[in-house]
């Protein structure tokens, strides 16, 4: 009888194996993102009173202003990124790999660090600063320009990856009868519009949720107002939630647009598996376009160079530079490595489910979107409510709470990278393995993982970078004495010695560069087989 029960249990587990594996991966998302969101529901009674804030008109103005600024930033990023993406992706400009690298690097850094670099360049006492340049910098125009330049590489990279993945025969046929401009704008660009849609959504969302740069440049935006509701004399998370609920229609709209245009598209136009071919010759346009492209790339890198020039390792007073650094780099790296690993593991399982049309995975994906677009400050309130308990002190008072926060906020990143990769892998391989008796777990480990190891590696690296550059999530609940480097730079920025703050910025740049180089090399080495 025991044997029969065991067989029945084994059959049942086997039948539901894929659901159980997905549920295992879902635990991370549920514990980190869903519980805090549910915890926020308890604030709804106060949130109802908070809606009174919208009677003032100022809340609406701020909301409209933020949407406009995000729209303008996205437009600027598209204006820069689309032509540059075409150029670095398919044109014969000199040094296009280097150009791409220099242009793209700032997008891996916290945007407020880039703003700090521009401040040292164009602020009143900056290297090229004057009263006029400072007034432009500390304005809505300055905000749009800085964020536009910072996020343009997202567009550039997605467009470039897209055009490199286009079926070569399409392009070669067009080249027989048309010039490079015609090929670029009539053949290549229309073929990568899902990549453009993704880039537009990503840049708009990143800009709208950005807190550090608007605060630094003193430009009033809606997320800063939400953050402020958590910083007033009367702690008012309910009011902050009321302000967030007003964002819900916009979040749903973005989610639907992204679902319609991007999420189930072939990886050929949104992914990283391109087909190399001979670059398009630009002819007489080669020199001027190359010059323009390099000018944009150097402008992207300018604030980083300025941080290097402004940095100093000595400071006034008894504190040496190493004292200001303290354990912040270690705190950042430890939390980011741990979170990125968990993100890649859960993202692999959920992303595979999304790509294979699992409804459960689709729900998890939607929850990850919700956690990503919920302003970090409000998510932070939920996280404190859930995790600050005697039983969970080992999480809340330590670096583990940073890992929880990062996993909540950036689950989407890993899920989407893996989902995009798996969706272009033929499902027949998995079906054949299933027909041969391989269970879900075995298929995932023996077929899906080896074929998508590179993408899982990218998911890990991207998750790591997002965690390293995070400020908004960590600033509200970082463990005492365990602040990540971004928070340390931000809290010291106000009255700290400028060379020290710039030096900390340079340190962050260095860490990011090393992580990118080592991470890429590691992925290349691991996926060579």
């Amino acid at each position: 009888m025991v044997e029969a029960m065991g067989r029945a249990l084994s059959t049942s587990v086997r039948r539901h194996e894929s659901l159980l594996i997905l549920a295992g991966a879902a635990i991370l998302l549920l514990a980190t993102a869903v519980l805090p969101l549910v915890r926020l529901v308890t604030e709804i009674p106060d949130a109802i009173d908070g809606f009174a804030l919208f009677r003032s008109g100022r809340a609406w103005r701020l909301l409209g202003r933020s949407i406009l600024l995000s729209g303008a930033t996205t437009m600027l990023a598209l204006c820069i990124g689309v032509p540059l993406g075409l150029i670095v992706g398919r044109m014969d400009v000199p040094g296009r790999r280097a150009l791409w690298l220099i242009h793209a690097f700032p997008m891996f850094l916290p945007p407020f660090l880039i703003a700090l670099g521009w401040f040292h360049l164009l602020g009143q006492n900056g290297f090229l600063g004057s009263e006029e340049s400072a007034s432009v910098l500390f304005s809505a125009a300055g905000l749009v320009t800085i964020l536009g330049l910072t996020f343009a590489p997202v567009v550039t990279s997605l467009v470039a990856l897209g055009v490199r993945g286009i079926d070569v025969s399409l392009e070669e046929a067009a080249r027989l009868v048309a010039g490079p401009g015609h090929v670029a704008f009539r053949i290549l660009l229309p073929a990568v519009w899902p990549a453009l849609a993704l880039a537009t959504t990503v840049v708009f969302t990143l800009t709208f949720s950005e807190l550090g740069v608007p605060m630094f440049l003193r430009v009033e935006v809606f997320p800063a107002a939400v953050f402020a509701r958590l910083g007033g004399v009367d702690y008012a998370p309910g009011e902050a939630l009321a302000l967030v609920l007003a964002l819900l229609p916009m979040a749903v709209l973005l989610f639907l647009l992204e679902r319609k245009f991007v999420s189930r598209r072939s990886f050929e136009v949104v992914g990283v598996r391109g087909t190399a071919t001979t670059p398009l010759s630009l002819g007489r346009w080669r020199t001027p376009l190359a010059a323009a492209a390099w000018a944009v790339a150097l402008a992207s890198a300018a604030p980083i160079v300025v941080l290097f020039l402004r940095a100093g390792i000595s400071s006034n007073g008894p504190f040496a530079f190493v004292d200001w650094v303290a354990g912040a780099p270690f705190n950042s790296l430890l939390a980011a490595v741990t979170a990125a690993t968990l993100l890649a593991l859960s993202g692999f399982v959920i992303g595979h489910g999304v790509a294979r049309g699992s409804r459960f995975a689709a729900v998890l994906d939607a929850l990850a979107v919700l956690a990503f677009v919920t302003p970090a400050a409000v998510l932070g309130v939920g996280l404190i409510g859930v995790w600050n308990r005697p039983q969970t002190g080992f999480v809340y008072g330590t670096a583990a709470i940073l890992v929880v926060g990062y996993c909540a906020r950036y689950a989407l990143v890993a899920i989407r990278v893996v989902a995009s990769a798996v969706s272009q892998m033929p499902v027949d391989l998995e079906r054949a393995a299933a027909a041969s008796g391989a269970g879900s777990g075995r298929r995932l480990l023996r077929i899906v993982l080896p074929l998508n190891a590179r993408s899982v590696g990218f998911a890990w690296l991207l998750g790591m970078i997002f965690c390293l550059r995070d400020l908004e999530t960590a600033v509200l609940f970082y463990p005492p004495g365990g602040e990540p480097l971004t928070v340390r730079i931000f809290t010291l920025e106000a009255n700290g010695p400028e060379p020290v703050v710039a030096g900390l910025g340079v340190l962050h740049v260095g860490i990011t560069a090393v992580v990118l180089v080592l991470g890429s090399a590691f992925i290349a080495r691991c996926t060579r087989w």
């Binding site: 009263e131 404190i384 008072g397």
Partner: protein, 338 residues
């Protein structure tokens, strides 16, 4: 037994993880939350570490949520306190904690030399190294004959759209406004704030930003704190620092305040940190590094730092100001718009 490379890396990660996850001894540490600028408060924590051997784990405010971000975190964590000590940048916010029963009275022996009016007899709070509210004036924008002398000059049409102050929902500006409500009564204080708005006073996100606006010449003068004004002087900016209302109600003086928290996980170490912070030595260093005015007699100060006795200070009942601060919040939010 030999370990291969992978095992070594795993071991190292586990060791680091365990270290960071709090496996170290809790007996040798203290958790301190501070709304005093990190650039000034952290060196004091490190000095305490060097003296006592007790590690200080700090949480600091951002400039924009000065005095309130950390305070709200304390309130959010009230059910399960993480902090032992709160070092507040002003003397009224600790009352919000006292009112919620979150403070453990402690009469520190180091407080003996501090003025009785700037500490609670029952030890719930103790004030030391103080700041004052001042007018920071850009000398290239304002001639000596035109120098403002009162906070009421912010509403003078002569300076329309040429003056600045920080958002009164945050930082020391909240306390200042509450003190005005306490001193002037609701009608006069509300009229003053409405006049500020009518006069186009630029509402900055922080006192540090007021300093930046004045130094950059974007406004002629602004209402800020002595430590921010001192930073402008250290930067070599062409500015004048004016203690307002010396012929009238006086300037608002705000001692930084330290409290021990109820349910503190490391209460004994917390008391040691409180004793250290309230020492004459800390007051001297805060005067030198952050232009804070020592409250004790006999503490040497740099030339640029005035002593509390050298200025006419506004008569303030901090407990009452704290109550006012909470009472006027709905109106202030309405005034600020959000």
């Amino acid at each position: 037994m030999t370990l291969d490379r992978r095992q070594l890396v795993l071991l190292a990660l586990l060791t680091l993880g365990a270290e960071s996850a709090g496996c170290r001894s809790k007996s040798g540490e203290v958790v301190a939350y501070s709304s005093v600028d990190q650039v000034f408060s952290e060196p004091e924590f490190r000095a305490f570490e060097a003296r006592s051997g007790i590690r200080v784990r700090g949480v600091f405010d951002t400039e924009e949520t000065k005095s309130t971000g950390v305070l709200n975190r304390l309130i959010a964590e009230a059910d399960h306190p993480q902090a032992d000590v709160f070092w507040s940048g002003d003397p009224v916010r600790p009352f919000l904690l006292i009112k919620r029963g979150m403070v453990e009275p402690y009469v520190s022996p180091s407080a003996a030399g501090l003025p009785a009016g700037l500490r609670a007899a029952d030890g719930t709070w103790t004030g030391f190294a103080a700041r004052a509210r001042v007018l920071l004036v850009n000398k290239s924008k304002v001639s000596p004959a035109e120098m403002p002398a009162s906070i009421r000059d912010l509403t003078n049409p002569k300076w329309r759209a040429q003056a600045s102050m920080a958002n009164p929902l945050f930082g020391t500006t909240t306390m200042h406004v509450a003190a005005l409500f306490s001193a002037w009564g609701d009608d006069n204080a509300r009229k003053f704030l409405n006049d500020l708005k009518a006069n186009g006073v630029r509402v900055a996100s922080s006192n540090g930003e007021v300093k930046r606006l004045v130094v950059a010449g974007e406004v002629a003068f602004g209402l800020t704190d002595t430590d921010d004004a001192n930073e402008a002087i250290k930067e070599g900016a062409a500015v004048e620092v004016i203690y307002p209302d010396q012929q009238g109600m006086g300037s608002l003086v705000m001692p930084t305040t330290v409290v021990l928290l109820r349910g503190a996980p490391h209460a004994e170490n917390g008391r040691k940190l409180v004793d250290f912070l309230l020492s004459a030595e800390t007051e001297r260093r805060m005067a030198e590094a952050a232009a804070h005015m020592p409250l004790r007699d006999g503490v040497p100060t740099p030339k640029t730092v005035k002593r509390v006795g050298e200025i006419r200070a506004m008569a303030v009942d901090y407990a009452r100001v704290a109550s006012e601060m909470e009472r006027i919040q709905p109106w202030l939010k309405q005034w600020a718009g959000l």
